[in-house]
Subunit: 262 residues, 2 copies
């Protein structure tokens, strides 16, 4: 069962500190909910940026210590990217979809297609970086579904509410410019909203109507999270109603053999 | 200038009637805002489903009166779709990107890539359909940017607020299952949020950070609009701050020569 009321409220949780290796993201969320004087309710969805999960997992890599393989050196020449960065992309991916100058699109080992294996190469610095170290890159989380599940379990134990958790990232897209939020980890919230079989206003059965629910929730949260100069990595989306399920975000990925563009 | 506060409120406007040819969508929105006791404020964005605009424009086609060309007959055999439907798709598109059984992806004449030229073949029936007519299809709106602009002008004249209007549709995507809301018409709201040049928490300049603002707003609205058994074609998104611009939704489309997947 999935429904949405006529109103959604999307709220960035206040005062979330800079996250580092070993931090407990669920505890940070509970503290931020307290600051906002919010109590979780059934159907709430907490959207957590992948960067927070990665930082808590310590997924920082000192690029100066990465040894580029010959394949990475060749890929760097073709894409006009750094060889060490390309080495990380190759290590993180299972399939190279497209390469061109300034374009490097792969299937991440986690199953989804994205640019640069989702590696953040712009402003990722560990909290405890030694002077003179780096430059740093930040890999996507390990097992983002499990991370979402752990946060869900902790928040449900704390609140008694049945909720969803989405780990989000920002993806580019074929055909269209600009990034959009996408779900790379899911717990509780059904990633897909399969409405086939529902009836429309004329009583006819809907066909071909499957909504990417978790991606749309991630895109919604990205509107308030997407600020450079303020920390808003935790966003609460309130107003959905759903029967909690245990499905990974990977159900959003088209199987390699079923994608006419892969 | 674009900003988002820490809270977004997304509200489906109540009591919108079934829309037919010649209806004034702006007047319907003003009436619905009144029912909800909402007064428009600067930065509000009204998201209108393409189906409402198409219906008001009378973009219904009686498929029984469509004569399929030889190309449409051939395309129908390749895609397992109806020849008359394929004829409409061909008429509405400028480029055929992919065809396969149950797959027909084209560049719409309006510039974006989508399945079936966005033609609604499932439940589109004109309000005044004669008995025995049809089956019916509903084409995407003509000039959705102009439609958005007209609604924006009427709502701004009525309210005095400076707002945005988005005409939305639901698109499938390469790589990922499920549809997401996308902007096919825009007025006032900047379609892209170009944040290059902003500084992050470490004072470094952000690179490669352009958000598909209008698409994310459309995806957000789709969460509350996406109900089969209730009419929610008008959704108000409150909480963004932006300097109104006159840019068409087409700035979201990658140029054909710059898309590694087209």
């Amino acid at each position: 069962m999935i429904r949405c009321g006529d109103t959604l409220v999307v709220r960035a949780l206040p005062g979330v500190p800079l996250v580092g290796r070993g931090d407990d993201v669920a505890a940070l969320a509970i503290a931020a909910l307290g600051r906002a004087e919010l109590t979780l309710a059934d159907g709430d969805v907490l959207v957590v940026t992948s960067k927070v999960i990665s930082s808590a997992q310590g997924r920082f890599v000192d690029l100066s210590r990465v040894e580029p393989s010959p394949a990475a050196v060749e890929l760097a020449a073709a894409t006009h990217k750094e060889p060490r960065f390309c080495e990380l992309v190759l290590q993180e991916s299972s399939y190279l979809s497209r390469r061109a100058p300034h374009v490097l699109i792969v299937r991440h080992r986690l199953g989804f297609m994205c640019a640069n294996a989702g590696i953040d190469n712009s402003n990722a610095v560990p909290r405890d970086a030694a002077a003179g170290s780096g430059p740093w890159a930040l890999l996507l989380p390990e097992a983002p579904d499990a991370a979402a599940q752990a946060i869900r379990a902790a928040l449900e134990a704390h609140s008694g509410a049945r909720i969803g958790v989405v780990v989000s990232d920002s993806f580019g897209r074929p055909f269209r410019l600009g990034t959009v939020g996408a779900a790379i980890g899911c717990a509780g919230l059904p990633p897909l909203w399969d409405r086939r079989g529902e009836r429309d206003l004329h009583g006819r059965v809907l066909v071909e109507t499957i909504t990417a629910l978790a991606d749309q929730v991630a895109a919604t949260a990205d509107l308030v999270a997407g600020q450079a100069d303020e920390r808003r990595p935790l966003v609460l989306v309130r107003g959905l109603k759903f029967t909690p399920v245990d499905q990974p975000a990977g159900v959003l990925d088209r199987a390699p053999g079923q994608d006419v563009y892969a």
